[in-house]
């Protein structure tokens, strides 16, 4: 398929545009919600150095969400802030894994957050995102291919960061190992939801916007498998979508409460300039 080089060109082919916007909502919503979950850790990370590093990653991730919302705005989907703040949960296409709470309590009260879960979730997600970005560099939608190239550069550092944590905590043995192994199973139970391209997957693939999700999954396993070996462990074979398929608009109460927090000021007056 020939490259579509501009939003105007994309708008002329409604089935192409529909597949493209579907994919963009997945990418934008994934980053938007995970950047939020990450930012809840602010001031609560295991040490100050990590607080600095993690907030830099969250900032990048929120920046990526903004890039994808911007692409949607250019396609006539509406103002990027409205897209980020106003869509109800059932219209959100993020993977359920990424909306799940960090632990018990809230980010302001009694936060008993689980660092093992955070490390595993961020590492596995970042690996999947990097694979998607690499595939998107050849996307038939040129503005998305360009965006993916920019995002991909930052992901190199995110990957290094999370891989280091993953290996250190897995190799530490004792309580850390136990917690990490538990977190791995929790994350794998939902990981399919990150990789799947959802109900319009066939269309997305047909227009060569990104490669087949089966291909992406194989690559993801090929990246992670040696890392498991390096920490004397074996990657679980199966992954699932135990709590629903976010690409279908299926979500948990965790998303609802997160959106209520993120929108609190915005909805005071959505028309106002903030």
């Amino acid at each position: 398929m020939t490259k579509i080089i501009s939003p105007d060109e994309a708008k002329q082919n409604s089935s192409f545009k529909s597949a493209l916007t579907e994919l963009l909502y997945q990418l934008a919503d994934d980053d938007f919600i995970l950047a939020y979950r990450g930012s809840e850790w602010l001031g609560l990370a295991p040490h100050i150095e990590e607080d600095v590093a993690f907030s830099s990653i969250n900032q990048d991730t929120m920046g990526h969400a903004a890039i994808f919302y911007q692409l949607l705005e250019e396609l006539g989907e509406g103002d990027m802030d409205v897209l980020a703040h106003s869509r109800p949960p059932k219209e959100r296409l993020n993977a359920v894994l990424l909306e799940m709470v960090n632990g018990t309590g809230t980010y302001l009260e009694n936060p008993k957050f689980d660092w093992a879960y955070t490390v595993v979730r961020h590492y596995f997600y970042t690996a999947a995102k990097k694979i998607k970005m690499d595939s998107l560099k050849n996307s038939t939608y040129q503005p998305l291919a360009d965006a993916a190239a920019r995002v991909s550069i930052e992901l190199f550092y995110h990957m290094m960061h999370w891989r280091t944590w993953f290996q250190q905590l897995m190799l530490a043995g004792g309580e850390a190992r136990t917690r990490m192994e538990k977190a791995i199973f929790q994350v794998m139970d939902e990981m399919e939801g990150v990789i799947t391209l959802g109900p319009k997957g066939q269309e997305i693939i047909k227009f060569a916007l990104i490669e087949h999700d089966k291909t992406l999954k194989d690559r993801w396993q090929a990246v992670l498998s040696p890392v498991f070996t390096s920490v004397n462990s074996i990657m679980p074979e199966s992954m699932g979508m135990k709590s629903g398929n976010g690409r279908n608009g299926e979500h948990t109460a965790d998303l609802e409460s997160a959106l209520a927090i993120m929108n609190e000021v915005y909805i005071l007056d959505p028309a106002a300039n903030w």
């Binding site: 939020y36 930012s39 809840e40 602010l42 001031g43 609560l44 990370a45 295991p46 040490h47 100050i48 150095e49 607080d51 600095v52 907030s55 830099s56 969250n58 900032q59 929120m62 920046g63 969400a65 903004a66 919302y69 990027m80 802030d81 980020a84 703040h85 632990g103 309590g105 980010y107 302001l108 009694n110 936060p111 008993k112 957050f113 660092w115 250190q168 905590l169 190799l171 530490a172 043995g173 004792g174 309580e175 850390a176 917690r179 997160a258 927090i261 993120m262 609190e264 000021v265 915005y266 005071l268 007056d269 106002a272 300039n273 903030w274």
Partner: protein, 324 residues
Amino acid sequence: MDSTVSYGLLAEDEKHALFIKRIEAGEKIEADDWMPEEYRKTLIKLISMHGISEIMGALPEKEWVPKAPSLKRKLGIMAKVQDEMGHGQLLLRVSEDLMKPYGKNRESIMQDLFSGDLKFHNVFHMEAPTWADAGLIGWLVDGAAIITQTNMLDASYGPYARALKRICAEEVFHAQHGESIIMALAEGTPKQRVMLQESLNRWWEALLMFFGPGDAGTTGTSKQDITIKYKIRTKTNEELRQDFFTKYIPRVLSLGLILPDSTMHFDKEAGKWIYKQPDWGKFKDIIKNKGPKSEERLRLRRISYETNEWVREALGSASAGERR
């Protein structure tokens, strides 16, 4: 090397005299240089408090990071709070070097924070209940910080002076970030303007207190004389407060805001701002962790410290493994 050897042979009072001569000449003192006990202790107290305040200062803003009302604002406040944590990290490292002779480290700093021995800045004990507070902290609290820190850019202690240079450069961006939020509110709807005025009213007293008491008579103690003597800073608390007024009062008024102190005016003859003193008794309570949010914010840090204990243990064993 010669001078180091001979320095070691000197008597205490000779070392002291040489030290004073060095700072009088504008030389910078480095971490491994000889320094009077009083100087070291003053620096540890000052820099640890500064560092931990940057870190505790992330907590009132933390609340507003996810709530920022647009993607642009979300990114702006995320970047700002990250910088603050970075400043905290940088300063704690400077402080940790100074503590080494006492066998103290990061762990001791955190324990001192939890026990109340290490204070954090009065402004970070206060409530920040609206989005306007997020803007006001950036604009006026960071603005005040720029004024006190600029005053120490030429501090006699080299590592602190260098850290402050970097911090001040970033604080300028924070003040701009805050000012931009404030401008949007000031030019916004009537509700937004009310939100802004209420925030200014709420923060006024804390901002006056920011620079500390005018003299030791106000609160019983003040370190400003010692820090001036050792050329860590140049101006007094009151001079800094006056600088703050001169810079910000015209800006506050130009936004159409009402000064929370109706008696405030500039006395041309005396060449200074006349204002109503804050309640310094309250200030003393606040810095003893009896402010409106002191306990809640300390609790957040304590919970994180306890919840992540297993991580620190794991890192300890991992680095022990590497050493083996």
